[in-house]
Symmetry: C2
Subunit: 315 residues, 2 copies
C-alpha cells in the first residue's frame, strides 16, 4: 500500500471511529431517527416515497415499539436482485469473452458481505441504521479497523457485520422500488460501489487456492478443527503443520486465516517436493502452463518456484 493510500485509510478510519463515538449513545435509543436528507445527499437521489428510505434503514430489532413499520429485510431482498442484475449486465458488456463461470465469480466478489459492508462504511451509511443490537457498534468499529489492513478485500480473513451489507442492499432496493428504473439505480450507486473488482484484481479465496495447489502437487491437505476448544483451525500438509488461524466469533474466518497462513508457508513444503522431484523430466510444458488465465496468483507462485511442471495440469 502506498503512503497516500495509507494516509487515506488512516483518515477514513479516524473519521469513522470518531463519528461512531459521537453517535454510539444515541444510535441505540429508540427515539433516534436517521436524517433522511443526509442519506439522500450521500446517494445523490431524492425519494418520492420517503417511507421506503426509512424502511431501508430500520432493523427488525428496532421495531418492538413501532410495530406498524416494516424492517429493511424485504427491500434488502429486492435490492440483492437489482444489484445482481446490474453487475450481470455491466460485466456481460465489459467482458465479451468471459465465460459464465468467471462472470459468476466476478459478480460474487462485488456483491458479497465484506464488499458491501465496506461500501457502507466508506460512505457512512451505517450511521443512519436504526437498530437495537447492543454489540453491533463494537463490531462496526472492529471491522473498520480491520479493513484498513486490506485496501481492496480480505478474501474471508475478516468478519464483516452482515447488517452493514444489508443496508446497502436495502437502500438499492428502496431506490428501485421508488423509481422503478435499474438505470437510475446504477447512476446513483456505481460510484459508491467503487473500487469495483475486475478480472485483474479479483483474488482466489485462500481455502480454494490451497486445495488447488495441493491437488496439483499431490500434497495431502488436512484441516484440523480445534475451534470448539480454542477458536483455532490448523492446516497440515503431508502430516506437517503449515498453518494456523484463530477467530472466536466464526469458525469460517478462523479456517480462512489458517489457509492464508498455510499459503504463506507452503513454499517450504513445495521446496522439499521440488528437491524430491529433481530427477524427473523438467518443465517441457512450463511455458504453456504459465499462460493459464484461470489462476493468475497461483501461476505466479508456481512459476517463481520453478516447480516440476510436468506434474501440473494448470488451465
Amino acid at each position: 500500500m502506498g503512503a497516500q493510500a495509507e494516509e487515506y485509510q488512516t483518515l477514513l478510519m479516524n473519521e469513522v471511529l470518531s463519528s461512531e463515538a459521537e453517535k454510539s449513545t444515541t444510535l441505540t435509543d429508540e427515539e433516534a431517527q436517521p436524517n433522511l436528507e443526509e442519506v439522500e445527499k450521500i446517494i445523490g437521489y431524492s425519494f418520492n416515497n420517503k417511507v421506503l428510505l426509512k424502511e431501508a434503514f430500520t432493523h427488525s430489532s428496532f421495531l418492538s415499539t413501532e410495530r406498524s413499520a416494516s424492517s429493511y429485510e424485504r427491500l434488502e431482498y429486492v435490492g440483492d436482485a437489482v444489484l445482481n442484475l446490474l453487475f450481470s449486465r455491466e460485466q456481460y458488456n465489459l467482458y465479451p469473452d468471459l465465460p459464465p463461470g468467471r462472470l459468476t465469480r466476478l459478480r460474487a466478489a462485488n456483491v458479497d458481505t465484506e464488499k458491501l459492508a465496506r461500501v457502507a462504511i466508506k460512505h457512512g451509511l451505517h450511521r443512519y441504521l436504526r437498530h437495537k443490537k447492543p454489540l453491533l457498534e463494537e463490531q462496526i468499529r472492529e471491522f473498520t479497523r480491520a479493513i484498513s489492513h486490506y485496501p481492496l478485500h480480505s478474501n474471508g480473513l475478516i468478519d464483516a457485520p452482515k447488517n452493514l451489507a444489508d443496508i446497502v442492499e436495502s437502500t438499492i432496493g428502496a431506490v428501485f422500488m421508488d423509481c422503478n428504473s435499474i438505470d437510475t439505480v446504477w447512476e446513483a450507486f456505481k460510484d459508491l460501489l467503487e473500487p469495483i473488482i475486475n478480472p485483474a484484481t479479483i483474488k482466489t479465496h485462500p481455502v480454494t487456492q490451497l486445495y488447488e495447489i495441493c491437488q496439483k502437487n499431490n500434497l495431502k491437505l488436512r484441516f484440523v478443527d480445534l475451534w470448539e476448544e480454542s477458536h483455532t483451525v490448523e492446516v497440515f500438509i503431508n502430516n506437517e503443520i503449515v498453518g494456523r488461524g484463530s477467530y472466536s466469533l466464526k469458525k469460517e474466518v478462523a479456517q480462512n486465516r489458517a489457509a492464508k497462513d498455510a499459503l504463506d508457508n507452503i513454499w517450504k513444503v513445495l521446496g522439499e517436493e521440488k528437491e524430491n522431484a529433481q530427477d524427473q523430466d523438467q518443465d517441457q510444458d512450463q511455458e504453456a502452463n504459465c499462460q493459464s488465465e484461470e489462476l493468475p496468483e497461483m501461476k505466479i507462485l508456481m512459476c517463481s518456484l520453478q516447480l516440476s511442471w510436468n506434474r501440473l495440469d494448470l488451465d
Copy 2:
C-alpha cells in the same frame, strides 16, 4: 385434474411428441437453423439485434463447426438475473406482508429448472434449440410425458432437462440485452410464465415435508441409499420401511420419490403413534395450530389424523 385440463394435457403432449418426431432428424443436423421469426412470434417481441436471438438458441455442443458464434450460456446468466429481479419486484408488490424467507421460496418455485422447462415445452421453444446432444431429444420426450401427470409442478419427482430451462433464461437475457428494459421483458414473458405459482399453490418439497413431520412427531427418520446398487433409495421411520423410490439418472430424484412414497404411507406410522399417545392431553391447541399458514398440506394431514396437538409446534 378436471376432464378439460386432462384433455388439454393430452393434446399438448400429442402435439409436442408429434412435432418432436418430425424434427428429430433435422435438429441434430449442424446445418439446421432455427426459424427466428417463429420464436419472435411466440414471445411477441421483435429483436433489433437478431444475433442475440440466434445466440440464445445455440448450445455449446453445436459450436464445434462454428467457432465464431457464441453459445447461450452468457445470455442464460443474464436472463437468470433478470428473471429473479422480475419475480422479486412482482411478489414484493403483490404480497406486502410476506417475509423475505417466504418470498425466496416463492421466487425459487417460479424459476427452478422444472418450472422453466415446462414453459419451454408449453410454448414449443425447445424446437428451435440448435444442439448436438444425441440423448436430449429422448429426454425431452420423456419429460413431456412425465409432466402430463403433474399439472402444476412435480416438486422434484421428475427429471427436467436443464437445457430446456436454459433456453427460457437465455431468451429472457437476449430480449433484455436487446431492449435494456425489464418492463418490456415482463410484458413479453409474464403470460408465457403462467401458471405462476403463488402462496396458495406452492407446495413443500417432499423431503422437507417428511423431515418436518418426523421432527414434530418425534419419529426417527432414516434414508437408506441403495442408488449405486439398484438406483433406489429407501425410507425408514422408526426402523420400519415406509417408502421406496427409484430413478436411474439422478439420485436426487430417486430420493424425492422415496420421500413422496413415505408421505403417502406415513399415516400408518402416525396412526400407531396416535394410539400410543391416546392417554395424553388431547388437542387443546388444535384449532390454533390448524390456522398455521406455513405448511398447509401438513396441516390438513395432521388435522385429519386428529393428532395429539400438544406435542406439535406448528407455525
